[in-house]
């Protein structure tokens, strides 16, 4: 787990969205959602990748990992629920806000997970969207 470089992917996504002229609100929502997805990979998975696809009207973020998977997705979506270990909490994460934060930022959110294999989180942020 490389906790120091975690966030590099989200920073790159944010920089690219600013360069292509996305509105501030879209940039902010995409940056926060990507960062939370990236932190989830760093905290929970063995390996993972984040792919961002940008078109004129939306940003799609797909975070795919090889890891333990999510046993109960609806439980993981609840604020405050977390399986992060204590040393992660001491660093300011693992408060059970990751997936709820992503949902708050996203116009569409799809989570597919298989226990013992891994998780894929697909996030759509629309230019015309109403997310925070």
């Amino acid at each position: 787990m490389d906790f120091v470089s975690a966030g590099d992917a989200a920073a790159k996504v944010k920089k690219t969205l600013i360069q292509v002229g996305m509105p501030d609100g879209v940039v902010r929502r995409a940056a926060i959602a990507t960062y939370e997805a990236e932190m989830n990979i760093v905290i929970h998975a063995r390996e993972g990748a984040i792919k961002a696809s940008i078109t004129s009207d939306q940003v799609e973020i797909v975070a795919t990992d090889v890891g333990p998977g999510i046993t109960d997705i609806s439980l993981a979506m609840q604020e405050g629920y977390s399986t992060a270990p204590p040393h992660i909490r001491e660093m300011g994460f693992g408060a059970g806000m990751g997936l709820p934060n992503i949902k708050r930022c996203a116009d569409e959110l799809d989570i597919q997970s298989e226990v013992g294999k891994g998780t894929q989180v697909r996030i759509i942020i629309k230019r015309s969207g109403e997310g925070q």
Partner: protein, 125 residues
Amino acid sequence: MTLQQVKDILKAEVLVGNDQMGRVVTSGFGCDLMSDVLAFAPPGALLLTGITNAQVVRAAQMVDAAAVVFVRGKRPLPTEPVLEMAKDIRLPLLTTRYLLYDSCGLLYCAGLKGCTEDGGRQGAE
């Protein structure tokens, strides 16, 4: 409120961004949970925290925070590239000996509003 005013009120030391003390902060957000920062901190906020790792810089970057103040006299470990990361994205970092509650209280009394919708003033007047 400018960062220079923040620096003076908190008797703070500037770790990064001495040339950016004219930057304006529009609200204050005191928190040690970075996910709460991501959920609730608006753009332009001053982030006050006792956490000093690299993820504070990343979280501040994602929410477009104006600057970060480390409280309780804390400063990043020299083994982590926190200062370099902040320099790269021109994020000012300060450190103050005041505790989190005291720091927030001093800034609030000086006019820096909070991040709740009513600026944290409901019931305080």
